[in-house]
Amino acid sequence: MPEAAAPPTVDEAVALGLTRDEYALILDKLGRAPNQVELAMFSLLWSEHCAYKHSKKLLRTLPTEGEHVLVGPGENAGVVDAGNGLACAFKVESHNHPSAVEPFQGAATGVGGILRDIFALGARPVAILDSLRFGEPATSERSRYLLDGAVRGIGHYGNSIGVPTIGGEVYFEEPYEQNCLVNAMALGLAERDKLVLSAAVGIGNQIVLYGASTGRDGIGGASVLASAELGDADEDKRPTVQVGDPFEESKLVECSLQLLEQGLIVALQDLGAAGITSSASEMASKGGVGIDLHVDRVPLREADMEPFEIMVSESQERMLCVVEPGRVDEVIALTDRWEVHGTVVGEVTDSGHMRIFDGGTLVGDMPVAALVDDCPIYDLAPEKPSEPIYAPPAATLAPGASMRVALLELISSPNIASRRPLFDQYDPIVQSRTVRRPEECDAAVLVLPGGGGLAASIDGNGRRVAADPYWGTVGVVLECASNLACAGAEPLGTTNNLNFGNPEKPHIAWQLTEAVRGIGDACRALEAPIIGGNVSLYNEGAAAGPIYPTPVIGMVGRLPDAERAGRLGFTQEGDAIAIAGHFHPSLAASELAKLRGEALPDGLPEVDIAAVRAAQEAIREGVREGLLSSAHDIAEGGFAVAVAECCLEGGIGATLDLGPSDDPWTHLFGEGPGGFVVSGHPTAIAQLAERVSLDVFGVVGGDDLRLTIAGDEVDVPLAELHDAHDALRRFFP
């Protein structure tokens, strides 16, 4: 093939993130040195982000099959059967590093990216959930800035594009001070038989690019390849920050769904990280075909971009589809109607190669298999650290504080206080499906045609996973399923985002390995298979050290009747209050332990996963039968905080007597999976007691929360609880 300049050196390859061995392997695969365009493409597809070099072997151990799974890992998102001929696509994805640089645009483009993964399957995006981690907001101005920017960014994109943000979670811990986490999950709905996959098929079919024009977004990394035309003087022509355009994407959604509705395209793929390089290569790989691309036909936002820049550009809001030659005109016409003007940029070939042309000249030629399949995969060298790797948190609770003070401190602590000041900035109701809004229920609930419902929840607890990567992760998966149970839903499938530090370090490799083992065991036991996810590694700084290991779990479940969706808040004066389930509270790695400034324990209590599942089923059936006025799973802050949350959401008080106790602090504030606070008519609670171990402790009513334990009484007026619970408000001036 024509070779213009001398090929890039191995040092340039290293500067692009490849190892010398990987570069040698590329030479071997090509039988020659890669030129500039080829090296740029290899460096992207052989990156951790695209090739999963350090996680693939672990991911292969996850359960990915089940009766409800329609599409498992490997596509842009996984898909489960939502009943009535409907399919639900969902996935969580991270945008951590961009958000740490510029939180507003980083979070906004993160939402834009996950939404594209959903409608790339032909599913209309119907919901967004977000999972956020920052440093301590009370003491860190940077964390307040990142929090505000990320929340504004998520709202900006989701609100503007008309997809409701129905749930999420946010936690604040020192180890996220330098490396914040911004994960976004999206759900989409499609008719089962209208799903489309991304495999390029049909030799001679045309490749059409539509959406935004292509600029120099996100190619900073590849700039070592820049030739003289665009030297350091023009560095700022290569923006490090990508700007999202939800307006452009809203047109992309409608246009893409109409293209499918009218049967005009045979395959669809979003352009995500690694731009057209990974999109085209993965389409070719999945279809077992080759693709010819003509970079000179790609509509540009800026003049004189080099071929390699076009190939690696991460400009947002772009889609690629495969079209039969006879259908091209109709496709272009429809993209014009939606003002997302499509262009034929290439075609499907039988060459098995990715071939890049610029004005007719071949400027890159690589076997698809070499690009997509031949990246080396590495074994981890896991090793449990010999001493603690995380410093104890700063104590914020005075020693000797009373239980009343502890309760108020917990209720107002950043990890437990109401998230309303965040989700007030999100539209939770557009599209008219939202039956349970944030804080009304442990899981968000959407109504489906026919009256059934979908429930969704996203969860993580880095501190507990740091204390015990296996049991901590098991607990996260169980909490997610408990949230669904409180809504009356059973899990259909699970997605996950693995946010960890540098996997080449033995103790991070150990965290990762144990966490994935925990996900696998818990998902198998719950029959909630993994249908997709994402991995974000190297979340650590030289000085700052690694983040808490943070597997974020997203689950979607089904309810037969949305009218019967569960509620979190007490509703009925005189209802009995009970603690139900398989619950063995412990203060290890709890919120109270954090407020006390205690170091992380080495390990968490083991959990009987099957027993917790049984408890979840009992709660779920109780909710479905309408036995229960309210159901709420016990999580951060333990039983006392859970009861307080039921009072606050219901706007009604409660009086409880837990009787004698050898360890009142653990009974009130201890944490662990499998516990629920339920309320209902005494006879209904008695019925539930026949199915799950349960203790009645009190009754709903009044304007105070009154807790008596071992003779001590904690009495807090609702108004005082409410003010404490509103503590995050001050971070959103």
């Binding site: 700022d236 290569r238 920050v241 355009d245 307006f247 800026e302």
Partner: protein
Amino acid sequence: MRARVLIRPKAGILDPQGVAVEQALPALGFAGVTNVHVGRIVELDVEDASQLDEMCRRLLANPLVEDYDVQLLGDDGHAAP
């Protein structure tokens, strides 16, 4: 003294607002308008004009995505020569 800060999207950064305006104008019968960019202005009275640059970097502009220009205004409200 009155000052004006002009804040614009950096060259090379996508400017969705500029694009939207540029595409809207022909329909309104305004032809031949190109290269449209939308930014912000902040006008303020300062005692110490030497602080303006730092103010821009720390609060008024987002240096990652925006360029800014500081203009000192005469009493007539026009840029001083």
